[in-house]
């Protein structure tokens, strides 16, 4: 919004503040949002996408991630990622196996960025957002290693993570426009 429009909106707001409600024509905006810059949002915006957007600085390998995984993750996911329930299994499966396929990070997830994004924001389930960005890279690498997708020395960072081909990357159809 341009500055003059913002001022107009504020004046409109003040004029009707006793009702707590802003009356505007359809052509005008209310304009009560406070401008902010992306640089002010770097700690707040943690969305990491497949194109690498939002992946932070830092790096890690599976070799480094094993200790973090065994301390922070194995209580639910088990030492080898085999999980303690259908909801916590991280490894194995084949989308073209007989019967209902086991859908895991390795067999199902189309993008490695999703793994980083989810661990960073939602894991460990008892203390989300408690891992450092470096630890998230390390654990992401370890889970990919447990699935045989990378070796234990592969260094994951914001560039290399986006280059990983997940086994089921071509297994999805975008239905968002098929309504």
């Amino acid at each position: 919004m341009s500055l003059p429009n913002k001022l107009i909106a504020i004046l409109v707001t003040l004029a009707v503040s006793q009702t707590g409600f802003v009356l505007v024509s359809q052509a005008q905006s209310v304009g009560l949002g406070t401008p902010i810059s992306e640089s002010q949002l770097t700690d707040f915006d943690q969305i990491a996408g497949p194109d690498g957007s939002g992946l932070p600085a830092g790096s890690g390998t599976a070799l480094q991630g094993q200790a973090v995984f065994e301390t922070q993750c194995a209580v639910c996911h088990a030492l080898g990622g085999e999980g303690s329930s259908a909801a916590t299994v991280l490894v194995g499966g084949d989308m073209h196996s007989e019967g209902t396929p086991l859908r895991t990070v390795g067999s199902y997830w189309p993008y490695a960025s999703t793994l980083f994004d989810y661990i960073r924001r939602a894991m460990p389930a008892t203390a989300p957002k408690s891992l450092s960005d470096v630890e998230v890279y390390q654990v992401t690498a370890y889970v990919l290693y447990l699935n045989g997708i990378i070796d234990q020395y592969k260094l994951l960072n914001s560039d290399s993570l986006t280059e990983i081909d997940m086994p089921n990357k071509d297994g999805f159809i975008d239905f968002s426009q098929t309504q």
């Binding site: 902010i36 989308m95 994004d117 297994g171 239905f175």
Partner: protein
């Protein structure tokens, strides 16, 4: 009017819906008296005790009569590997009309309910916009709002009816099988208003919506849908959105799987591509028989179910009953609901309270005379786009059994000669 004058509308006792209206209603009462109840000469009505003593006065917050039943939401056992995660289900068979009381609205959480101080909560719009903006709760309360009645349904609702490996139909109630659907009046700000103020850049195609819960649950939504009828909802049935529904604010995406109506909304980011969050890749995707998985399957299917009589109820004696239930479609309003008492061989049109319930629940009713024999009760909805609710078998034949979301096939309630009502596959 005698029992015999009630016009049959379909097999196994279904009666024309017109008998629920006007003259027909009186006729139905007469029919009940004729067929089911005999006069009781010993009955004497007296003034009851509560009409002789003043009751308690006003109260700060009302509650249900202690005589009105103890029904409540039904939830599973807590899962230690999933703290705060889980779902609770609405007691559909105990509710009437179409609005779900706020305390009974179904829940689905991915990391529990955050205890949000609204004075500290922020809604950020950033990404592909001319000017990123941050809104406070107080800011948003001053915006022009709209009030709309919409259903919400979890895409995992009714999932038990997919069945497993030829297993028998699982025993259950309308609540335990179908209780992940509810309906409320939502009041809020069109998301398009706030996006317009940030100025969406031409290359933006999607939004990423993120909640302030411990999982920072996120979902991607195409920009064209986000600019359509999506609300930032601040009120639910007239009061501030309940904590378990997203206080102080939630996204409300009408007609679509509940998960994308992100609760505790704190960020909307404009992007070129979807963000491919965990809950739109690993979960909430639908694997087809060819092993390809459909992603972003948003609208909820055309669907209905009979809530009375329904699973685990018992019909006490042969005679007239009012069959009633709910119907909804994520693609429009409900135009028609048909009911069968013979497992789908013959159908009769049910009476709809409202044929303009756009992306909201509709209530249907039809009279039925239970003969005392076996019956299979079904309902079948048609929406304003002409979509017809499929049979369970038809749905499975179409999409297979590898996906476990978006079940919207016909529910069958079997009635045996003892009047016991059970979930059946038919």
């Amino acid at each position: 009017m005698t029992d015999k004058e009630l016009e049959t509308a379909a097999g196994n006792g279904l009666i024309n819906r017109r008998h629920l209206l006007g003259l027909g209603l009186a006729g139905m009462g007469a029919a009940v008296a004729n067929s089911a109840l005999a006069a009781d000469a010993s009955m004497r009505l007296e003034i009851p005790a509560w009409s002789k003593t003043p009751g308690p006065g006003v109260s700060d917050y009302g509650g249900r009569s202690s005589y009105a039943g103890q029904f409540q939401r039904m939830s599973g056992a807590p899962n230690p590997t999933y703290p705060g995660g889980g779902a609770s289900r609405s007691p559909l068979q105990h509710l009437q009309g179409t609005i779900t009381p706020n305390g009974l609205h179904f829940e689905r959480h991915h990391a529990g309910v955050p205890d949000i101080d609204p004075s500290q909560h922020k809604l950020v719009i950033n990404g592909l916009v001319r000017q990123p903006l941050v809104f406070s709760y107080e800011d948003l309360l001053k915006y022009p709002m709209v009030s709309k009645i919409y259903f919400l349904e979890c895409s995992g609702n009714s999932g038990a009816l997919w069945g497993a490996n030829g297993a028998d139909a699982p025993d259950g109630t309308a609540q335990s099988i179908h209780g992940l659907v509810s309906c409320a009046e939502w009041t809020g700000i069109p998301l398009s208003t706030l996006l317009d103020e940030s100025g969406v850049e031409p290359e933006a195609r999607w939004i990423a919506a993120v909640g302030a819960d411990a999982a920072s649950m996120g979902r991607s939504i195409p920009l064209d849908r986000a600019m359509d009828d999506v609300l930032v909802a601040l009120y639910q049935n007239g009061e501030p959105v309940r904590p378990e529904q997203g206080y102080p604010m939630r996204l409300l995406v009408p007609g679509c799987e509940g998960n994308i109506s992100v609760k505790w909304l704190t960020q909307v980011k404009l992007t070129r591509e979807p963000s491919h969050f965990r809950d739109e890749t690993s979960k909430y995707t639908d694997t087809q028989p060819d092993r390809l998985s459909r992603q972003f399957t948003f609208p909820m299917g055309t669907k209905s179910l009979i809530t009375t009589p329904s699973g685990q109820m018992t019909l006490n004696r042969p005679g007239l009953y009012q069959i009633t239930g709910i119907a909804w479609s994520g693609r429009g309003s409900i135009r028609r609901v048909e009911v069968s008492a013979d497992g789908g061989q013959t159908w009769a049109d049910a009476l709809l309270d409202d044929q303009h319930s756009h992306k909201a629940l509709a209530r249907f009713r039809i009279p039925w005379r239970w003969s005392g024999g076996s019956a299979i009760l079904q309902s079948r909805a048609t929406d304003s786009q002409g979509n017809i609710q499929p049979t369970r078998t038809g749905l499975i034949n179409e999409v297979g059994l590898l996906g476990r979301y978006h079940f919207h096939g016909i529910q069958s309630w079997g009635v045996n000669s003892a009047g016991e009502v059970r979930n059946v596959f038919a």
